[in-house]
């Protein structure tokens, strides 16, 4: 995990969030709620379910296309974090060897099915969440949180963290690069150098915090951060939330894939 790439990542995500599409204009709360519905629906399935998960992909695809997000981008990010799911799920085929059904001559064990299920859930939940936040951006998110009753100190914390994320990661990158340039060949730093860098970074951070505080006081800061409100929940939001909720309910309780598959097989016969 290199610093540079991550900086570009957050910056890029934020650029995407300042785009303009019907989805961008929706109140963040509607989008967050719907995505949560998806995650809960997907995650509530039994461990051996795979095909029933397929129709849910409609949601992230919808977000990507209507939100104008670059499709390869989300897919790449999902692949990037996939190893973790693979790591924990990969034991399943070894531990669960009860054959569930046969594909032609080969028997497919429960372990493989549940492994596939894990991967599918993973792809769904991660892509939906990434798409959501590529469209929403942290500022709208924080406003949504504040208006939903999340404690103010936490929301303010998220805002400030986001504000200074670049500044600090930029500093860390610069110090790190300076060190790398002066360490002939040795790429990894030892504990002592790391401590020096982190220590200095910490001190500079504390100084900065003091300066920011001063700047805030000079402009009348009295302990309350007041957030400017934007649009509210209207008809488009209700339509969005209800529509997807209905779809998710259908997908959850009716195995659409099965229905389609049986129809096709029946048709072939």
């Amino acid at each position: 995990m290199t610093i540079g790439r991550n900086l570009v990542d957050i910056g890029y995500m934020d650029t995407l969030a300042s785009g303009d599409s019907p989805l961008h204009r929706l109140d963040a709360r509607a989008k967050i709620f719907t995505t949560f519905l998806l995650i809960i629906a997907v995650v509530s399935f039994d461990k051996y379910v795979v095909s029933a998960l397929a129709p849910f992909f409609l949601y992230p695809v919808f977000l990507v296309v209507v939100g104008g997000l670059p499709s390869g981008y989300i897919a790449r990010k999902v692949l990037l974090v996939a190893p973790f799911a693979v790591l924990v799920g990969v034991f399943n085929p070894f531990l669960d060897r009860q054959v569930l059904f046969h594909l032609g001559a080969a028997g497919v064990t429960g372990g493989w099915v549940s492994f596939a299920s894990i991967l599918a859930r993973f792809a769904l939940t991660v892509s939906a969440a990434l798409a959501l936040f590529s469209i929403t951006g942290i500022n709208s998110l924080c406003e949504a949180l504040a208006r939903s009753g999340v404690p103010r100190p936490f929301v303010v914390q998220l805002l400030f963290l986001n504000r200074y994320l670049f500044v600090l990661t930029g500093e860390a990158e610069r110090i790190s690069r300076a060190r790398a340039l002066r360490s002939c060949g040795g790429t990894k730093m030892g504990l002592r150098v790391f401590t020096q860098i982190v220590g200095h970074l910490l001190l500079r951070t504390l100084d900065r915090a003091e300066r920011v505080y001063r700047a805030m006081r000079c402009r009348g800061f009295d302990g309350h951060i007041r957030i400017v409100k934007s649009s509210g929940i209207g008809r488009p939001e209700i339509v969005f939330m209800l529509g997807w909720a209905v779809l998710f309910a259908i997908f959850r309780f009716v195995n659409v894939s099965l229905v389609l598959g049986e129809a096709v097989e029946g048709f072939i016969r």
Binding site: F62, L95, Q98, G110, V150
Partner: protein
């Protein structure tokens, strides 16, 4: 250590969300009561600092692998437990939102595993007791290392419990534990070392920072203190008991060395029953391995024994599967995915045309 949504059941995820949410609300209340304006920019900037620091890797001497700073301890030392918890929660939230580092449903779990134990257990009960106000190098090193170990052991254990209770992964409890705990022991030691060296650095260069913070930090709660330690003890003993109970013969033999045979079998049944009823209450769809064990006490839970299929009297752990249904399901699944892709393209076309 960041958990993903794919491995969590809604029940576990939801419960942890409620717990973490409550902790956030409570910490926010405490921070507001402190009414220290200075903390507002400080917490934000320190959160960004933790982020940046976590991106720097260093090589762990002797192992050749690289490590990075967790940061919870440093936050707690600089800010006190409540603010530190909020900062950790915010860092984890941003990691989940923008880096997909940890799922959204699992965020509650992650905040608890990585925030609660460090800020409310390891810091006040270990670090502060050992290193607290005095500035001795040895005490800082000892306190930070022990606190790091404790915090990470509990955190790792939390991950194991949450994954196992969700029942999505087939990883058996014991294997998971044996995987997680030793690794995180090492990580805990490293965390402690790094924390103590950073603290000592700051002390050498700008000692007044630490003394100022230490004086301002609110003294710990008294009733809550006992409650917390009791809760921690309960978690730990519950886990230890279930480990004994679920163990295959080796572990049982070891337990036998300490207790008489009868006692062992009795506690076996009791804990089995307890865990099974717990599972029933928490599991969304209760067709997991635990249930099987009620019918056959002594059979290992979720071990490879499932290979042989369900034993006599045990319930089937999965719905009867008709081969025909499965292939139809697969075919249908592919067709659905295709349909989704086509819909996507169609929408895109419409967008460009519009």
């Amino acid at each position: 250590m960041h958990m993903a949504d794919a491995l969590i059941s809604p029940a576990v995820g939801g419960t942890m969300w409620v717990i973490s949410g409550g902790l956030i609300a409570f910490s926010a209340k405490k921070v507001r009561e402190e009414a220290d304006d200075r903390k507002i920019p400080l917490m934000g900037v320190l959160g960004a600092f933790i982020f940046a620091a976590q991106m720097l890797n260093f090589s762990i001497p002797g192992t050749g692998s690289s490590g990075h700073l967790g940061g919870g301890m440093i936050l707690a030392i600089l800010l006190g437990p409540w603010s530190a918890f909020l900062v950790m929660a915010s860092v984890l939230a941003v990691q989940a939102l923008f880096f997909a580092d940890g799922g959204l449903l699992a965020l509650g779990c992650n905040i608890f595993n990585l925030g609660f134990f460090t800020c409310f257990l390891a810091y006040p009960f270990i670090y502060k007791q050992i290193a607290g106000n005095s500035a001795g190098k040895k005490r800082i090193l000892l306190g930070a290392t022990l606190a790091g170990i404790l915090g990470l052991q509990f955190g790792a254990f939390g991950v194991v419990l949450e994954t196992v209770f969700s029942g999505i992964s087939e990883l058996p409890f014991r294997t998971f534990i044996l995987m997680m705990q030793p690794i995180h022991l090492g990580i805990g030691v490293v965390e402690g070392l790094v924390t103590s060296s950073v603290v000592m650095f700051v002390m050498k260069v700008r000692p007044e920072i630490l003394t100022a913070v230490v004086e301002k930090a609110p003294i710990g709660v008294s009733i809550k203190k006992t409650a917390l330690s009791l809760a921690a003890a309960a978690v730990f003993t519950g886990a230890a008991l279930s480990w004994f109970a679920s163990a295959d013969p080796d572990g049982l033999e070891w337990a036998m060395l300490r207790t008489s045979g009868k006692e062992k079998l009795e506690s076996n049944g009791k804990v089995h029953g307890f865990l099974a009823s717990l599972q029933e209450k928490t599991a969304f769809l209760p067709d997991y391995g635990f249930k099987k064990s009620i019918a056959e006490p002594g059979v290992a839970i979720k071990e490879g024994e499932q290979e042989g299929g369900a034993g006599p009297g045990a319930e089937a752990t999965w719905p009867a599967v008709d081969p025909g249904t499965s292939t139809a399901g697969l075919v249908g699944g592919f067709i659905t995915l295709l349909a989704v892709a086509v819909t996507g393209f169609a929408l895109k076309r419409r967008k460009i045309a519009a």
